[in-house]
């Protein structure tokens, strides 16, 4: 048998104060990112804001400053320019308020380049134009989609586990989602539909690790009715630690090959997945289980405290 980890006995639960602080910071950043997103001040994809984005391919390199000049000369006043990592490609984004009608931009933008650089060959790689009404609808749909899937997961967990485990799992899932928002926000990546897709995928997937840990905790709680909860939780996590890591590792391997080799279109998407996978395993160990333990201990205290009452009366 090859094992990366032999029998371990880390005190995961004892570190909960540290992990709670770290996760609180991550979550606050994540929530801040969401607020920024809702306000529209974050780096939003045109899927949500409406507007136009055109990716152009040139046969020669075009310096970004020259490109800027060319667009200005072509009569396009407001735009954003981004360099695409591979090839001589440029991404031109026009805001929603831009005067160009939908369907026209793919003519006007390349024309501006051919006018300024007559010798250069311009091809339109892709055009995405989203009218304001579609952008608003997508934003609304997305919020509903996220809400419904979260609700679905919560309902399922509530049905499968008892209340305390349910809370632990939901908090861990929310934590993973917030962490993805935080990572995207901090790296300045664009919030678009693919990102939301990644978030929902991870919301469904990250539960695997949590469930593995929870199942073991419950099993051990039934076996050992008298032992201290703290000890049971710790040993349960340690027992399943290697499988938590390996299940995440295999998915991580698949996601990293998408990240490295999958090309520009899904580059950011796979980045989000990678973050989600890593955070997912962290949260199942450091967030989900400690929360359940805290709730269990609280209810135990209550059970011990109740008999005292009648005496007083």
């Amino acid at each position: 048998m090859i094992e990366f980890l032999g029998k371990t006995s880390f005190d995961f639960i004892g570190k909960r104060n540290i992990s709670f602080v770290i996760s609180a910071i991550i979550s606050v950043v994540g929530m801040f990112a969401i607020i920024e997103m809702v306000r529209g001040t974050a780096n939003m994809g045109i899927d949500f804001t409406g507007g136009t984005s055109i990716q152009l391919k040139f046969d020669k390199a075009v310096p970004i400053a020259d490109a800027r000049k060319a667009l200005h000369n072509g009569g396009i006043a407001e735009f954003e320019l981004q360099e695409v990592k591979e090839g001589n490609k440029l991404l031109v984004k026009l805001p929603r308020k831009s005067a160009l009608a939908v369907g026209k931009a793919a003519e006007i933008v390349p024309a501006a380049f051919t006018k300024s650089f007559p010798g250069i060959q311009v091809t339109v790689d892709s055009t995405t134009e989203i009218g304001p009404s579609i952008g608003d609808k997508l934003r609304k749909d997305t919020i509903i989609a996220v809400a419904i899937s979260m609700l679905g997961i919560i309902c399922y967990i509530a049905w499968r586990f008892d209340f305390k485990f349910g809370i632990g799992a939901v908090v861990a899932t929310l934590h993973d989602v917030l962490a993805m928002f935080a990572a995207y926000y901090l790296t300045g990546k664009e919030f678009n539909l693919l990102f939301i897709t990644a978030v929902l995928t991870i919301a469904g997937y990250s539960l695997t690790d949590t469930v593995v840990v929870f199942d073991r905790i419950r099993e051990n709680m039934h076996k050992d009715l008298k032992g201290s909860l703290h000890k049971i939780f710790n040993s349960s996590i340690n027992e399943v630690l290697s499988r938590s890591i390996i299940t995440s590792l295999t998915t991580f391997l698949a996601a990293i090959s998408l990240f490295i080799f999958g090309g520009e279109v899904i580059h950011d998407f796979s980045f989000a997945l990678l973050i989600g996978i890593v955070v997912g395993i962290y949260s199942s160990v450091f967030i989900a289980s400690p929360i359940v333990l805290m709730l269990e201990e609280k209810s135990l205290d209550k059970v011990q405290a109740t008999p005292a009452k009648p005496v007083k009366a």
């Binding site: 939908v102 539909l193 897709t197």
Partner: protein, 530 residues
């Protein structure tokens, strides 16, 4: 053989064969004829992001369709009242879905109301008093009729757009209605998306209007029954657009719905393309009458409120054919002929979404997606073989079955593969061995406790079952939501993901287990390669 293994193996093999059959059309470039007769012949559909193409969402301005109907009522009424010698100040469409007639006298107002009651039963008749002691009578469209008109307008627009696309020549276009007033158009593999977009989005309302002589278009008041339209001239050398204003009568004498045909012809004298049009019998009669009555006057050929040409009528034209000339290139002339043949849209459409992916980017995406997928699979296979030895290879076999089944199922269901869909498959490769990892780790634990491989295997599968179910169900919940709300590439992702999750459940709980059972069923095997 262990009990119950027979039918499980049979099921696995049956699915393999079935998937294989469905995948043949995708993998084999040329199918033999006997195959096409009875076996599936559809390839896996590639999304527009992979094969390149244009996805458009159009919104029909249905209010304009209602306005159009009311305008027709106004023109019609004008003729009726003129016929009956009833004096009126004006007839026009007014706010609130009404056509209003303003009359001078109470008596005429009563007479008009009588006619209206008879002729326009579907309309609500409202009388009002207008400024300056005049009398107003309005026809108001009922709410139900308005909705009906709007609904029909969208259906008509869809048909017209379908006609235009068919004539333009796009293979396997998708044209479908979405919601109340939207139309989705997908044009896979289109070479010249801009031209197609222009063709689809054009209203193409053709009108013949008389030019109002004796009024200067550049200054002075324009009579109430006239309007200013512009004739556009593009200088072929500089590309500068020159606009010439023209005053024309508001009323159109002939409209595009009286056409039967439109064809591109080349003018032999100037080698210039023009569009030759043919009228139907009513149109031909009208054209004959109008040209006879207006010799030596100018009339304007107006398309979507732009004057194409304004020739002088030299002589009476009978026979019902005419020509539209302007500054055409062969392409613009042929596009104009297409829209004239396919007919005008009942109301203007607005393009509210346009996602166009060039063929080269699509090809690039396929290549990179496959490359990433291949490497991902390889990494996972190596890892599993290294860490779990022979058992790992069994898991790898399960994963291979997974991919085969998934591709087969997508092909059978006619699902669309998109780039995020490929990402979902790659992700599933990682997830599909997860279930086995959970099972194997459990087996290892049982083995450590000193159990025999057979019973360790049974316990491993039993105890891991619920955990695996849980993780699959939650993943399926989010995949289903993505499917419901996603469009295009995201939907493709959801399709691949949800199919993959269901298939994965099957292969991990049945597929790989049967292989272990085969080896371990006697219970005498002492060592397990795990």
């Amino acid at each position: 053989m262990p009990k119950g293994a027979g039918w499980r193996i049979a099921l696995i093999i049956a699915f393999v064969v079935l998937s294989g059959i469905y995948l043949v059309p995708t993998l084999v470039p040329k199918l033999p004829d006997w195959w096409k007769g009875m076996l599936p012949k559809d390839k896996i559909h590639l999304g527009l992001d992979l094969q390149g193409g244009t996805h458009l969402v159009l919104e029909v301005d249905t209010d304009k369709a209602v306005d159009g109907t009311l305008d027709l009522v106004a023109t019609d009424l004008e003729d009726v009242l003129n016929d009956k010698n009833l004096r009126f100040k004006r007839i026009s469409r007014t706010a609130g879905n009404k056509t209003t007639i303003v009359l001078y006298e109470k008596d005429t107002s009563d007479a008009v109301q009588k006619i209206l009651k008879d002729k326009y039963r579907d309309y609500e008749i409202i009388s009002s008093s207008e400024e300056g002691g005049l009398f107003g009578v309005s026809l108001r469209m009922k709410e139900k009729d308005i909705q009906d008109r709007k609904d029909k307008a969208v259906a008509q627009a869809l048909e017209t757009i379908r006609n235009r696309i068919d004539q333009f020549g796009v293979s396997e276009p998708v044209i479908a209605r979405q919601g109340i007033n939207q139309i989705v158009v997908q044009l896979p593999g289109i070479k010249d998306p801009q031209r197609a977009i222009a063709l689809i989005g054009r209203t193409a309302r053709l009108e013949f209007k008389m030019v109002k002589e004796g009024v200067s278009p550049t200054g002075g008041a324009i009579p109430e029954d006239a309007e200013v339209l512009y004739e556009k001239h593009t200088d072929p050398d500089t590309g500068a657009i020159n606009e010439i204003p023209l005053i024309v009568h508001k009323k159109a004498l002939i409209t595009g719905d009286l056409l039967t045909d439109a064809q591109v012809r080349i003018d032999s004298q100037f080698n210039q393309p023009y569009v030759a049009i043919e009228f139907n019998s009513l149109g031909a009669r009208l054209f004959d009458q109008i040209t006879a009555a207006n010799v030596n006057k100018r009339f304007a050929i107006v398309l979507d409120n732009t004057v194409y040409s304004a020739p002088v009528i030299r002589e009476r034209i009978s026979g019902g054919s005419a020509q539209i000339s302007g500054n055409f290139t062969e392409k613009t002339a042929s596009d104009l002929a297409i829209v004239l043949r396919a007919g005008a849209l009942p109301a203007p459409v607005k393009i509210i979404q346009n996602v166009t992916v060039g063929a080269s980017l699509g090809k690039d995406s396929i290549d990179k997606g496959l490359m990433a997928g291949g490497i991902g699979v390889l990494l996972v296979i190596c890892f599993m073989a290294f860490y779990y030895k022979l058992s790992g290879m069994v898991a790898n076999l399960g994963m291979a079955l997974n991919i085969l089944y998934l591709m087969g199922a997508m092909s059978a269901l006619g699902a669309t593969l998109t780039l995020p869909g490929i990402a979902a498959i790659v992700l599933l490769v990682g997830m599909s061995v997860d279930s086995n990892v959970i099972i194997f780790e459990r087996i290892r634990e049982e083995l450590r406790l000193g159990k025999y491989p057979k019973s360790a295997l049974e316990t491993g599968y039993d105890k891991a079952f619920l955990t695996i179910m849980d993780s699959h169900v939650t993943a399926l919940i989010t995949a289903a939501v993505l499917f419901q709300f996603g469009t295009g590439p995201v939907k493709g992702f959801a399709v691949s993901l949800s199919l993959g999750i269901i298939i994965n459940l099957f292969t991990s709980l049945m597929g790989t287990k049967v292989i272990f059972d085969m080896f371990l069923y006697k219970g005498t095997v002492k060592k397990m390669s795990i």
